[in-house]
């Protein structure tokens, strides 16, 4: 029975420490971030660099789930910063402040074995709204049979922007399969020869999928930098009210420092 008594002692100590812990924790502040899967790679890189430059000052907890989740979480006070990959909407909760941090392109992608070089915007609209259902007759398509339409879940900011920028505000057909993240969308298109989808240029620049040109302009870093490509959108860091404390310092650093600009310009475009 000695054993049981010793255990309960351990519990008591744990209890006291548990209460004491929050007071001690204030030395390093934690910046929590949630939101867009598209800007997740960029924000992770920036956060890593930031921690390296200012060690022991701040810690990051970054999760991804979708732009809308970032908006919800930051509005509810669950995170310090929301990552958002779409422009502010009228429906967004009041009091959110959007800080643009980078620009990115939205590319239509197909499987490597089906290297469609180019589509007109009308064709893109027809495909993604479910009017065109077969690869037969599309110029450059080597796949045959049904088009496997891949879209993103409704929380995706890239989906919202894709619909406003490339589909003239029309909605992607409900036939489409819905992937919960950019990475999974790319993986799906990589593995399915009949598929078509859309991702931010960071994913398509990896070269594992075929990026389809739009109206004769290729979708890659060069055409996005030059501004020729039509589907260019922005990443935002969003805070509830004006950013304060550690979050404000981090956002300020992204906006101003040369180190951050360098990271952004590797794959994305600084503002």
């Amino acid at each position: 029975m000695n054993r049981i008594r010793r255990l309960s002692l351990a519990f008591a100590v744990a209890g006291v420490l548990g209460v004491a812990a929050p007071a001690a924790a204030s030395a390093v502040s934690t910046v929590t971030i949630s939101g867009a899967t598209a800007s997740y790679p960029l924000v992770s890189l920036l956060a890593q660099k930031y921690v390296k430059l200012f060690p022991k000052k701040v810690k990051f907890k970054i999760t991804q789930g979708g732009a809308q989740i970032g908006v919800n979480d930051v509005a509810a006070g669950r995170v310090s910063i929301g990552d958002v990959s779409r422009d502010p909407l009228a429906a967004d909760p009041a009091g959110l402040v959007f800080y643009p941090i980078a620009k990115y392109g939205i590319c239509v992608i197909t499987n490597k074995s089906n290297p469609v070089p180019n589509l007109t915007q009308a064709q893109v609209i027809s495909i993604f709204t479910g009017k065109t259902r077969s690869w037969a007759g599309l110029p450059g398509a080597t796949a045959s049979g049904t088009i496997d339409l891949i879209s993103r879940t409704s929380v995706a900011g890239v989906l919202t922007n894709f619909q406003t920028l490339l589909l003239e505000g029309k909605k992607v057909s409900t036939i489409a399969a819905e992937e919960p993240s950019e990475g999974l969308m790319r993986a799906k298109v990589e593995s399915d020869p009949n598929s078509i989808g859309f991702v931010s240029n960071y994913q398509s620049d990896k070269g594992t999928v075929n990026a389809v040109g739009l109206n004769g302009v290729a979708c890659n870093k060069a055409s996005i930098t030059s501004g020729q490509y039509a589907g260019i959108a922005r990443f935002y860091e969003v805070t509830k009210g004006k950013a304060t404390g550690a979050a404000s310092a981090f956002i300020g650093w992204i906006e101003k420092s040369a180190a951050a600009k360098k990271i952004i310009d590797t794959q994305w475009l600084s503002i």
Partner: protein
């Protein structure tokens, strides 16, 4: 049952010898019976083949992809399989959650089992407690996970995770997940202990009372030691439930690949922090998750399967060494 029966009383455990009706050959049977015979062979062998196929396939993939270095490397976020590291953190996470879950479940389950078996008054209350535990047993883990989320996001439970800048409570941590894991481990532990206590012959208690021991002393010095193997079985079953659970991890452990402690107090910070386990690692690295490193998923799943196999063997061992005394049965090992 009956008093005239010369046959061996029905006992659980390995089936006793049965006489087969050798006097008739299946060829002379009715079609329906022959069909049933065939289907019984088909189903029985089929089930064994499926089990063998699963274990064999996982073993093949495991040996193909599992490298000892994976067990000691920390995982990393990467888009390539080679860059994604090993699964040291998930292993630690699984161990940590198991410890928390069992530590929380043991007093609840054993206390409850003793009360039911040794006191159990008023009767209606005992029945309520027993059905509560049955309800916990029947509740899907995903519902328990949602329940945990709603609890640990309450303001007063902020010390168990952390408060975000906006004032919301994160609600996901090892403590939160571990507390809900204890609910998963509770029913098998409770059932095993209760059944053990109920199977202890009455004369053992009477002897202890006759020696002047109080009720609680009898429980502590006589009954609990005699049901040690039942408790061990229960704990083992609870552990195998905990290490196999994914839904609670996905919702309540914060989905960070590495152990990410919260606050600066070592130990407590880890418990308040987030992390991953083998199950969430497998889930995350399957095509359903973000990592998309199926080779790593196979390797981790193989390790997980080895754990489950080991726990099964332990249950078997304990069951066999005390089968006669306690009446542990096939179903006791599963349900």
């Amino acid at each position: 049952m009956s008093t005239v029966a010369p046959w061996t009383p029905p006992a659980s455990g390995p089936p006793m010898k049965r006489g087969r009706g050798r006097q008739s050959s299946p060829l002379s049977w009715r079609w329906g019976d022959r069909l049933a015979l065939g289907f019984a062979w088909f189903a029985g062998i089929g089930l064994c083949v499926i089990a063998a196929a699963i274990v064999g396939y996982m073993g093949y993939r495991g040996i193909q992809y599992l490298r000892p270095s994976l067990l000691v490397q920390r995982p990393a976020l990467s888009t390539t399989q080679s860059g994604s590291g090993g699964f040291l953190d998930p292993l630690i996470g699984t161990a940590l959650l198991t410890v928390i879950g069992v530590l929380l479940a043991v007093p609840l389950a054993i206390g409850g089992a003793i009360w039911i078996a040794e006191y159990g008054r008023p009767t209606w209350l005992a029945r309520v407690v027993e059905s509560s535990i049955e309800m916990v047993a029947g509740t899907p883990d995903i519902v328990i996970a949602l329940f945990g989320l709603s609890i640990f996001q309450l303001g007063i439970f902020a010390p168990f995770s952390f408060k975000a800048a906006g004032g919301g409570v994160f609600g996901k941590s090892f403590i939160a997940a571990g507390a809900m894991m204890s609910l998963i481990a509770l029913p098998p532990l409770f059932t095993a202990t209760r059944d053990g206590l109920q199977a202890v012959p009455m004369h053992m208690r009477e002897a202890a009372f006759a020696l002047g021991k109080t009720r609680i002393a009898t429980i502590r010095r006589v009954l609990l030691p005699s049901v040690r193997s039942n408790i061990a079985t229960g704990v083992t079953l609870g552990i195998s439930r905990i290490i196999g659970d994914t839904a609670i991890i996905v919702l309540l452990l914060g989905e960070t690949l590495r152990l990410d402690s919260q606050g600066s107090v070592p130990g407590i910070g880890l418990l308040r922090g987030t992390g991953s386990t083998l199950t969430s690692y497998v889930y995350g690295n399957s095509p359903a998750g973000e990592g998309a490193a199926p080779q790593k998923a196979y390797a981790a799943a193989f390790v997980l399967l080895l754990f489950v196999l080991g726990l099964n063997l332990i249950v078997d061992r304990i069951g066999r060494s005390s089968a006669d005394a306690t009446g542990m049965t096939v179903a006791g090992g599963i349900v």
